[in-house]
Amino acid sequence: MRFRAKIVDLACLNHFSRIINTIAKLARTCILRLTVCKLYFILSDKVANGGASMWCELCQGNFFDEFQMEGVAAEHNEIYLELAPENLSRALKTAQNAKAVKMKLTNKHCPCLRVAVELPSLSSSSRIVTHDIPVGVIPRRMWNDFREPSVPDFDVSIYLPALKTMKSVVERMKNLGNFIVIEANLSGEMNLKIETDLVSVTTHFKDLGNPPWATEDGCQSSARGRDLESMVEVCIDIKKLQQLLAGQQVNPTKALCNIVRKRIVHFILLHEEVSLQYFIPAIA
């Protein structure tokens, strides 16, 4: 099992750092899955995570100048590692003006992802900072736990409002209570509601638009014949939503969510080079 990679371009490095920062906000530990073409950051929906799960996928060619990996076996040419994304985020934080960043899987005392940052210095030789991030190697038999989640049979699919606006609304609502209700319909309308004994606040968004597959036939048997105006709602932990929105540092190209009435909400955030899916289950 081997892994070596190198980033030389500063723009790629910054972009990669931003993605890691976003992941670090969503999960304390997660799985990094390495394949020949792609990297995945995976959080499975265990109870410990509060039931939320995440699937983030990026093409290595968009970031790395060099990327070599050898999986556990020829027919299973993949590596699954468990790590704390916060460590990776910290290692990259002070690499803003690095000449190069190299990553390597090592196993001196224990398996580590070694991030070596080469920095410019006044002297003849560069300054090298190495960060050894401890990782756990996930054995092959557990790989099935981390498969890509399937898109649920949703009742409504709708584009999200501007994330910045949504974030500030949610942050203020967070002061009022612990749960937030997201409801949306197939006419491009979404409401964010918070209700407590003392107060209830609703923010309305209109003209958001619905993705094409939301109204296609054969897609949702429950949606067919249903009034386009009727709202589908789900009640979730507001902290999870706030974490997702707070972690977004760049506006996505496309942002939408799929809601299964009273069960789960599935967020999809697409950027040019990376896609992020986040599932938040309803409060029981």
Partner: protein
């Protein structure tokens, strides 16, 4: 200084005013020496041939509170007078501001023993000198909350810094960061090969940010584990401060004395003010010759300013190392520049 300890020790000497601090576990010590030239007027006090100059300590927060907002101070304050009134048990700080406004702060003080760290630079086997900027750039890679850092040597004369991992911590859970600096990044390197010392990063950072702001190069003297680790800096004209700091983390201590050379701007006005003020003081004193009161609640001005400088006291060393250190370094019979050379004996706080 507030990052080291909660009390500010003021010690006027013939060679200048020394401001010092020590942390609660006596493992870190810092001192600033302001040469007389730094002040428009400097009178350490009158003493007989054998008497010592009066020294005292005050609460750090009270003292800092007076100088809380530097930008507004720079705009409005013309002069600052610091006066020690032993008989009234008060340290007086008087800010002469614009438009004839005078703010007078009376701080209660406690008498104290001389605070002095015991070390001998000559005996240190290793020495490193670097600009504060290089060192600051080096420590930025470590997390802000990191307590301790290990300095070591490597092949090719390189110097390494690595975060210190406690023995009890699981190696499989802790991220290890290591930085290598080439010899030519330093202004001077004279490090015994195989040196390997651990010191408290938190306190060093405080010193470093000061040195960086003043653009001072730092010289670090150290020896084997168990003896002091002492960063020093010397400033040129027109910059203030002398910092000396000692830390005894795992028997490493870090001290930085910087001495000040500053040309004075003589002013007759100030002398007049001082004299008339002192005359007024003589006549109005109650003259209680008793020992200074340890309480400080008597003065409301001290309590109003609760500025927190964000200082975090240094991590106390393991008890066994601390006693080992003091035992080995107190070298009896060695001549010392001061009349007494005693590290504060009392362990308890605020009971001098």
């Amino acid at each position: 200084l507030s990052r080291i300890g909660d009390e500010l020790y003021l010690e006027p000497t013939e060679s200048g005013l020394s401001l010092r601090a020590v942390n609660s576990s006596r493992s870190a010590f810092a001192s600033f020496l302001f040469a007389p030239l730094f002040f428009q007027q400097y009178e350490p006090g009158s003493t007989g041939p054998d008497a010592e100059l009066f020294r005292c300590k005050v609460h750090m927060k009270s003292f800092l509170g007076i100088f809380r907002s530097l930008p507004s101070l720079e705009k409005s304050v013309g002069k600052c007078l610091i006066l020690l009134k032993p008989h009234a048990n008060r340290l007086v700080l008087q800010l002469h501001c614009k438009y004839g406004v005078t703010k007078t702060h009376n701080l209660a003080f406690q008498e104290c023993e001389r605070l002095q760290a015991v070390f001998d630079t000559q005996r240190c086997a290793s020495r490193l000198c670097a600009s504060a900027r290089v060192l600051a750039e080096a420590v930025v890679h470590f997390p802000p909350t990191l307590a301790e850092v290990t300095l070591g040597t490597g092949p090719g004369g390189k110097i390494s810094l690595q975060n210190y991992v406690e023995d009890e911590a699981e190696p499989s859970k802790t991220m290890v960061t290591q930085l290598w600096l080439a010899e030519d990044e330093f202004q001077a390197v004279a490090v015994a090969p195989g040196s390997h010392i651990t010191f408290c990063l938190k306190e060093f950072r405080g010193l470093l940010s000061f040195a960086e702001a003043s653009n001072l190069p730092l010289t670090i003297h150290f020896d084997e584990p168990g003896s002091p680790f002492r960063p020093t800096g010397k400033s040129q004209m027109n910059s203030p401060a002398a910092i000396s700091r000692e830390q005894h983390e795992h028997s490493r201590s870090c001290s930085v004395p910087l001495s000040v050379s500053h040309l004075p701007i003589p002013s007759d006005d100030f002398a007049d003010d001082l004299e008339s003020y002192m005359a007024a003081m003589e006549t109005s004193e109650g003259g209680s010759g008793g020992p200074p009161s340890p309480t400080s609640e008597s003065n409301p001005e001290e309590e109003e300013e609760e500025e927190e400088e964000g200082a975090v006291p240094g991590t106390p060393p393991h008890k066994k190392f601390r006693s080992l250190f003091f035992g080995s370094v107190l070298a009896p019979g060695r001549p010392s520049p001061a009349t007494t050379q005693e590290v504060l004996a009392e362990d308890s706080d605020g009971e001098c």
